[in-house]
Amino acid sequence: MSVVVEVLVLGFLISALYALAALGFTMIFGVAGVLNLAHGAFAMVGAYVAIGALDRGLSLPLAALVAVVGMALFAPLFYWLIVRPVERHPILVMLGTLLAAVVLEQIVGLSFSFNSQILPPLVGGSFSLLGVRVTYDRVVASAIALAVITGLWLFIHKTPQGKAILALSMERKGAALVGIPARRVILGVWAISGALAAVAGLFIASFMGISPLEERALLVIAFSIVVLGGLGSIPGSLWAAFIIGFSETVVQQVAPEAQGLASLALLMLVLTLRPQGLLGRAAA
């Protein structure tokens, strides 16, 4: 019984974070058609910006703010410098962002260390829920994650700027015809994506710790969720985040040594049976 509760609680908490990590990735693909393989690196760099800010004596909330704002500025710059020149060649975009991710890994590893680091929890303490110990930090984190996701949904569906993003993801030519400035919207989406990645990176760093090479695992999780849910589909990503989060938690409880293997196997199975993902439109 307690195992079931544990899986449900922990699975829910981790899934919310995974959803956060995957959203920015899927938004960029949906709007700009770009597979940003440096998305995991964004989350990792965001966490390390916070760690660096903490080292310089900033308080934790302030350091987190610096990280989020910093990544919101860094991501559009990254787009401008690295993605834009090769935007028309999907293979070069993948290769370029992957190379950039490796460079970011190395830069962060050299300026900090390649060992795992951990961010202090935002709030201390824990409580017991039906016999499962849950830290307040995790609850706060998933609450923030869900709030951010809800906020994003409202932004996209209720504001003119958000609707511009939606329009652009549906039909680029049509969006241009009604006067939506594609360049500016895309830069904005990169900024949002960077900020979302930073938030996800912060929480992951405070739960499990983070090391520069960990970004690959983050990228694979984000990539898996997004493909499982269907590329470019935000609701699909949410569903998939919960599927992957729960299945990982289950495997962790049942057979810890097979962790990682199970979710990969699940992903391969879904890809084989339903190539376009759960809620996706067929990829180009």
Partner: protein
Amino acid sequence: MSHRSRLRSRLRSRSRSRSRTARLVKLGGALLALALLLGLPYWLPLLVPAMQQNPFLLYKWLNVLVAANVLAILGMSWDLLGGYAGQISFGHSLFLGLGAYTTAILSVLYGWNPWLIIALGGLVAAVGGLLVAAPALRLHGPYLSLMTLVAALAFDRLMRWLKPEVGIPGAEGAILCVPHCVLTLDAVLKYYYSLGLMLLTALLLWALTRSRVGLALEAVRDDEAAAQAAGLNAAKYKTLAFGVSSFFAGIAGAFYVYHIGSAAPADVLNLQRSVEAIAVAVLGGMGTIFGAIGGALFFKVFEELLRPAGTLRFALLFSLALLILLLVRSGALGRLWAGLRPRPSPPREGAEAPPTVASASETEEAEVEVKAKPS
């Protein structure tokens, strides 16, 4: 009329001489490169006097070139699948690793002839490639790339989990097979072995891409629906590309084990190996096969030259690769790129678009002729 015919003849003669010169330059360049590679252990010490006093310096560089040859085989195998068949694999480390593990295990357990084991390593990798191809046939674009990436990661986790108890088990599922998987202790001989294997791979893959199969692969890459409509069995050709590509990637992994004496997930199954394979193929020019050789030489030689930079060198190396990618593609070096590599027909132009400078000017000539006719 006279003006047009003069123009026509001038164009024709220019195109002919250009095509002939281009062909000669190409052939000459290839022969020169071949001669340089073959004679390298002899001319390199003459160039660098320090190597005459210290043969170990020469051996060190020969080992770098062995690694470059292995990377070249891997890059060329990726190019067949990515550059010709248009199936962008992010998991070539899977095939590299399959070849490497087969070699490490067989050499310790049975100690057969190294070349037989290397061939078996390739075959096992080919089987792995066909297994990946089965689901991959249903996938396109980023989904396919993810599928290959996931397959490679799953194998990496599997090896770390199984921790094979063969030879001298290392950390995290590594196998140290050192007394068994030594091809030769002679650095010069090892260089020639790797060079021979690399050239053989290049020749076979090049021949394949110049055959009907190569054309079919390009047709499938450029427009799968059209290729299907024209009666090509796209699934068959894609499966073939997966099989052949993974075979040669497995050969690369197998030879690599004979080079360094171990197979470790952190090494052969590292995502970085897949990135390197793509990087050398793309930097050298996708869809050229031979381009990957240049890319691999560049990559490994720079990696060694940057060694004094210590841990910084990977950051520098990958930044350099990224910079080249961006400069070449964004136009700064675009002309040079086009001159070096006159092939890339924009996608959807059809596989029969002739890829060489010579034939490009022939089409130009044909156009002029068509225009000249009515008058």
